[in-house]
């Protein structure tokens, strides 16, 4: 995951390569913190010297203070938990459906012909524009929010899975067939591991889409959730709470990224070898 394809300039003349370098892993991990920290510092400085008015963008320290206050009185926890529950449920449903349909379309010619065209048409349906219809179909309760998340999560997973399956080296599938693997076993041993990197990417995009949908969904008759918190703050122009909400999302983004990176490292060890050669 770390070997860039074109990182260093080529050295057609290699006079004397450096001796074994110390493992740069930890150094790199810290370097990845540089730009986020720099951004936050610049933002704080701009707010302190008055370049940014508190209305335009409150200082990170203000936002943190607000966050601390809301966290201390339990508000933040409650809203976060509710949002996470909705997101998880929607991801599960939308992701599950995407896995089934994506696999059907990617694997079976018939599935491709029957499933893919409607999905391609539905892909551009802005599901957030469906809200008025969804209210009629599923009501204004929790199911509305979960449906919106599921719709948002469906497409990235479906498309990446589909593409991942299509990109699998046909020759490996042939080799598995000659080893006597039936369709189910080929799915397990060849298709799934081969499509896994694409699936991870789809999952990343789906998690982002889930939050996006939730922000809109939690504006329809919600009493809880980070989206609701932000909407409420928006209505009363409490910019610090709005920015706090955004910060929470950003942290969730980083956390989920770390989780997925970890999962990738666990399941995609074989790619490191690929990179090393």
């Amino acid at each position: 995951m770390t070997g860039p394809a074109l990182a260093e300039a080529p050295a057609p003349v290699v006079p004397s390569p450096a001796p074994r370098r110390p493992r740069a892993g930890t150094a790199r991990r810290w370097r990845r913190l540089v730009s986020p920290v720099a951004l936050v510092l610049a933002w704080e400085a701009a707010a302190r010297v008055g370049l940014l008015s508190a209305e335009k963008l409150p200082a990170p320290s203000t936002v943190l203070a607000t966050g601390w206050r809301l966290a201390a009185d339990g508000t933040l926890g409650v809203h976060l938990l509710d949002s996470l529950t909705r997101a998880a449920l929607g991801l599960l449903i939308g992701g599950g459906l995407a896995l089934v349909l994506g696999a059907a379309a990617g694997l079976l010619r018939l599935g491709d012909d029957l499933v893919d065209p409607p999905v391609q048409a539905a892909r551009m349906l802005p599901h957030l524009g469906l809200v008025p219809l969804l209210i009629i179909w599923v009501g204004i309760g929790e199911s509305l929010k979960v449906t919106l998340v599921a719709l948002g999560a469906f497409f990235p997973i479906y498309f990446n899975l589909y593409a991942g399956i299509r990109d699998i080296d046909e020759r490996l599938v042939e080799a598995a067939r000659t080893c006597g693997l039936g369709p189910a076993a080929r799915l397990r041993h060849v298709v799934l591991p081969g499509a896994l990197p694409a699936l991870f990417l789809g999952l990343r995009l789906a998690i982002g889409a889930a939050w996006l949908s939730l922000v809109v969904g939690e504006q329809v008759n919600a009493q809880t959730g980070v989206g609701f918190l932000m909407m409420e703050a928006r209505e009363f122009s409490q910019t610090d709470v709005v920015v706090l909400g955004l910060l929470v999302y950003a942290l969730l983004g980083l956390a989920s990224d770390l989780l997925i990176r970890f999962a990738e490292r666990r399941t995609l060890t074989w790619r490191r070898g690929l990179r090393a050669t």
């Binding site: 000659t178 080893c179 041993h189 591991p193 081969g194 995609l268 074989w270 090393a276």
Partner: protein, 241 residues
């Protein structure tokens, strides 16, 4: 590779009639007739690009677009020209792919040991050298004790010593289990050492069929061996030195 009682197979283990295959306007196979009897080893020679790999794919049932008729036994194993190991499985897991029955672990370990890679079972395919990967692919085919082996230059990336060892291994296993083999090779000596019959693919058909009768332990020093070798090389267009 546990011993298995040799079966009395009657009739050919592989028959192909009038196999044709074209890629667009290019006809690669123009009507290949082929029979491999049970327990027989047939070598398939031919120039680069003559259609050997294409024929093997057809016979392995992997090519939908080919014409003609052919039958395959239930248990055929293939070694492709490239190793085709699954990059996400370690060497041992690649060998164990689709393997059922008792003591899979032990059989896999023995197969890897027989190709000289007892200690590389936990390596990823990307960590293997060219010859090592090829040997893992051979182990993957041998471990399933098939009735027919389809081998596409299985020893092409091996040094002389390893190649000799692998040839010995193939001979020994054949004697033990009695499987048949269709072996694509570029090495005329190898063909003569291993095969009961040599086929020459040229112009999209089997242009020549040469039985090899050199006894159980053929030696390159045998004058009959030299004569056959010369005949094959002539047929392949290689001038005498």
């Amino acid at each position: 590779m546990a011993t298995r009682p040799a079966r009395d197979l009657i009739g050919p283990v592989l028959t192909a009639r009038a196999v044709t295959r074209s890629f667009g306007p290019t006809v690669v196979l123009a009507g290949v007739d082929l029979t491999v009897a049970a327990g027989e080893t047939v070598a398939l020679l031919g120039g680069s690009g003559s259609g050997k790999s294409t024929l093997l794919r057809v016979l392995a049932g992997l090519d939908d677009a080919a014409g003609g008729h052919w039958t395959l036994p239930g248990a055929a194993a293939v070694v492709f020209q490239e190793h085709r190991l699954l990059p996400w499985k370690r060497a041992a897991d690649n060998v164990a792919l689709g393997l059922a029955g008792p003591d899979v672990g032990g059989r896999v370990a023995r197969a890897l040991a027989e190709v000289g890679l007892a200690d590389r079972g936990r390596a990823w395919p990307a960590e293997l050298s060219g010859g090592q990967a090829q040997r893992v692919a051979v182990a993957r085919a041998l471990v399933r004790e098939p009735d027919l082996l389809l081998l596409d230059e299985p020893f092409g990336a091996l040094d002389a010593l390893t190649r000799l060892r692998m040839q010995g291994l193939l001979r020994r296993l054949r004697a033990q289990h009695g499987f048949a083999a269709l072996l694509v090779t570029h090495d005329v000596e190898e063909a003569l050492l291993l095969a009961d019959r040599v086929l020459l693919l040229d112009g999209g058909v089997i242009a020549e069929e040469i039985p090899v009768r050199l006894g159980p332990a053929p030696s390159p020093d045998d004058p009959a061996f030299g004569a056959l070798r010369r005949r094959l090389l002539d047929r392949l267009g290689v001038p005498a030195a």
